[in-house]
């Protein structure tokens, strides 16, 4: 396992863009190699969703120190769209509704953006591919004509995120609390979709961000990190999640992060 990491986060600090102080991320270190599935767990307010947003380039957060390298490039220098084209995908915790814009139209524009300069997307090919992906995710084809997240149930929104992921084929998918607000059936459908995608592309890496261990029963992580107070407090294998389920986050309360870098231990 000597492959170069696809994502390397070193000493990352970040704060809310408009605020003067109060950093949320206080020195995050993390390495993800191609094909690895990592989970970051943590209590509310620990900074795990902030990390997801900083990786995607949300304008509401400002990195203040440290570095993030994605596929050898300085990620923090890139615009959100450039990050997406480079292969980062953020499955939103709260997907945004875009009234009047159909999923098909939206995805067509997003897939077109991935075409080489001056090359037009083959509409029929696109449409066949979209249908095929929707079938894979057990979605009705009529879904494509609905307006993006407009009036969607929680489950539909999350499934729509997975559909986008399936269409855009990222190298790293950051899934921000994809399990929140889902009943067990919806959760299983979403997890099944993600597992199919990782089977299809064994090089795709996943960073799961979750409060609960529940999701990890369906998407098996190679590494589990516990985030507390803006730092990774513990890293290990799946057993870390199991321990957490039993002990809760209480163990970590008031605990300072270890001084070692929190990168994944060698498997």
């Amino acid at each position: 396992m000597s492959a170069a990491p696809i994502l390397k986060i070193a000493g990352l600090q970040a704060k809310v863009a408009d605020e003067v102080e109060l950093g949320i991320l206080k020195g995050v270190d993390l390495e993800i190699k191609p094909g690895e599935i990592h989970a970051i767990m943590g209590p509310n307010g620990s900074g795990k969703s902030t990390l997801a947003k900083v990786l995607a380039g949300h304008p509401g957060y400002e990195p203040t120190d440290g570095s993030v390298t994605f596929a050898g490039e300085d990620l923090l220098e890139m615009e959100p769209d450039e990050r997406s084209l480079a292969g980062i995908f953020l499955a939103f915790q709260y997907p945004v509704d875009i009234p009047g814009v159909s999923i098909a139209n939206f995805l067509r524009t997003a897939v077109q953006a991935r075409q080489p300069e001056g090359e037009d997307l083959d509409i029929f090919e696109f449409s066949d591919h979209l249908t095929e992906r929707m079938e894979m995710l057990e979605m009705d084809v009529s879904f494509a004509e609905r307006h993006v997240n407009d009036g969607f149930s929680g489950g539909e929104k999350k499934r729509n995120e997975i559909l986008q992921m399936a269409m855009l084929k990222p190298r790293l998918a950051v899934m921000d609390e994809t399990d929140s607000g889902l009943d067990i059936d919806a959760l299983q459908i979403v997890a099944k979709g993600v597992n199919k995608l990782t089977e299809e592309d064994p090089e795709m890496s996943i960073l799961l961000i979750t409060h609960y261990q529940r999701l990890l029963n369906f998407i098996k992580p190679d590494f589990v990190h516990v985030m507390v107070n803006g730092r990774i407090a513990r890293s290990g294998g799946p057993e870390v999640a199991i321990a957490l389920e039993e002990e809760g986050y209480k163990t970590y309360e008031g605990q300072e992060a270890p001084s070692t870098n929190g990168s994944a231990p060698a498997a």
Partner: protein, 449 residues
């Protein structure tokens, strides 16, 4: 009669009693008299000022100078597409199927066609000036009488006195036109006043869609276009009236529109305003027969210093009538929009359903929208609602789209088109949606450029 010491407001060298006489010299007596009457109304009606609620946000003293205007005297262009301006032909090429066409260049109808089959069934589509001779009884009955008489206001009076040409569309009883009729207008004369009329009469249970597009390049000096639109849908008729305004800078576009819907008639309108420096539309939908129904749609996209003023009324005169108004606009640069709408439910017009919505999307911190919805209800068993919003481009939506690889321009375009698309989706006439989408995309591209 006492002699006025001051010239009546709005009377200029070109806009004068002499002009009325000159224009009507060869016209039948009834029309000459109608023009003279309109002129007297014009002379005695003061120019609207911002003291009037309906003109509060559009200061004509600053926005319109009638004095230097001359009446358009351009000679008629040939009825030969090869000699028409390229942009005019482009606009026509974008239109898909049509039942008939009219081409108006500098106020002259230079071309009119209607499918032979429809002509045989009695459908008339042609120059209003010609119709005065050929369909005298019809024109005399409806022109500037019940829908937009001179008494409607200063501009209605001016138009009724000095109109030079226009369009007549007549659809006999029971005749249904599957494809729309398309009117394409092109203006070239800078500094001219164009006064034109549209008269649409749809007899019982007939069906027709009418699409009127006006376009020009930018003008060096202010150019005034005035249109009086009269749409009459008799019992059970179904009529769609669409106006697409794509004039260049320097144009003052003014349109007074009245729609009269008879028993169980459906009379829908769509006003699209994309161009001109100033746009003022007065639209009055009158639901005259029980069961009449009007959807009133509007869409505008402003940039630079464009100014839009929409003044609408939904008059429910008889019971069981329905109207649904949706006006949406996006405003960039330092453009500005005013929407003022009123729902009037007359005494006895029970079971009225009336809705009115105006939504604005501001794309720039310097853009501004004012929305003034109003209700006047004199019946007690009605369903009425109105709503207005002014919002900014949602930055979360933009981030969401960018996180999927769309660049800033594409993301904004998608959000804006989605916002405005709701209006077009309600009246999906072939060609109109694509055309309007393309123009808006061009405007958005300039915004980012």
């Amino acid at each position: 009669m006492a002699q006025a010491t001051l010239a009546p407001e709005g009377v200029t060298q070109a806009l004068s009693a002499e002009a009325v006489e000159r224009i009507s010299a060869d016209e039948p007596t009834w029309l000459q008299e109608r023009r003279r009457h309109a002129w007297s109304v014009y002379e005695t009606t003061p120019m609207p000022t911002t003291k009037l609620e309906e003109w509060r946000y559009t200061d004509l003293k600053k926005k319109l100078d009638l004095a230097p205007l001359r009446l358009s005297e351009g000679t008629a262009a040939p009825d030969d597409p090869a000699q028409w301006p390229e942009r005019l032909r482009e606009a026509m090429d974008e239109d898909r199927e049509a039942s008939g066409h009219i081409v108006v260049i500098d106020g002259h109808v230079v071309h009119a066609d209607i499918s032979a089959d429809l002509a045989k069934q009695g459908v008339v589509l042609g120059s209003l000036q010609d119709a005065v001779e050929q369909h005298a009884a019809l024109v005399e009955e409806h022109l500037a009488t019940e829908a937009v008489p001179a008494e409607e206001g200063k501009f209605a009076a001016l138009n009724a006195a000095l109109w030079t040409d226009g369009v007549l569309l007549y659809v006999p009883k029971g005749v249904q036109l599957e494809a729309p009729v398309r009117i394409t207008r092109w203006l070239t004369e800078s500094g001219a006043a164009y006064l034109s009329r549209v008269l649409i009469v749809a007899e019982q249970h007939s069906q027709v869609s009418y699409v009127d597009e006006v376009l020009s390049d930018d003008f060096e000096s202010q150019t005034f276009t005035s249109t009086a639109v009269e749409v009459i849908a008799k019992d059970g008729a179904q009529v769609q009236y669409v106006a697409v305004q794509r004039l260049g800078k320097g144009a003052f576009y003014q349109s007074v529109q009245r729609t009269l819907a008879g028993r169980d008639a459906t009379l829908d309108t769509l006003n699209v305003a994309l161009g001109a420096s100033v746009t003022r539309v007065d639209l009055n939908a009158r639901l005259l027969g029980p069961g009449a129904n009007s959807d009133m749609l509007g869409l505008y996209f402003g940039d630079g210093s464009q100014h839009f003023d929409f003044n609408t009324s939904q008059d429910h005169i008889k019971p069981n009538t329905a109207s649904d108004l949706l006006y949406k606009g996006a405003l960039d640069g330092s453009s500005r929009a005013v929407f003022r709408g009123i729902i009037r439910v007359y005494p006895g017009a029970q079971k009225t359903d009336a809705y009115q919505t105006n939504r604005n999307l501001l794309l720039s911190p310097h853009a501004r929208a004012d929305s003034l919805p109003n209700l006047e209800i004199e019946a007690d068993d009605v369903k009425c609602s109105h709503g207005a919003t002014v919002g900014e481009l949602d930055s979360e939506a933009k981030f969401y789209l960018m996180s999927r690889g769309l660049n800033r321009t594409q993301a904004e375009r998608l959000v804006v088109m989605g916002f405005l698309g709701e209006v077009l989706a309600k009246l999906p006439l072939g060609g109109v949606v694509e055309k309007v989408s393309r123009v808006i995309e061009q405007k958005l591209a300039q915004h980012e450029g």
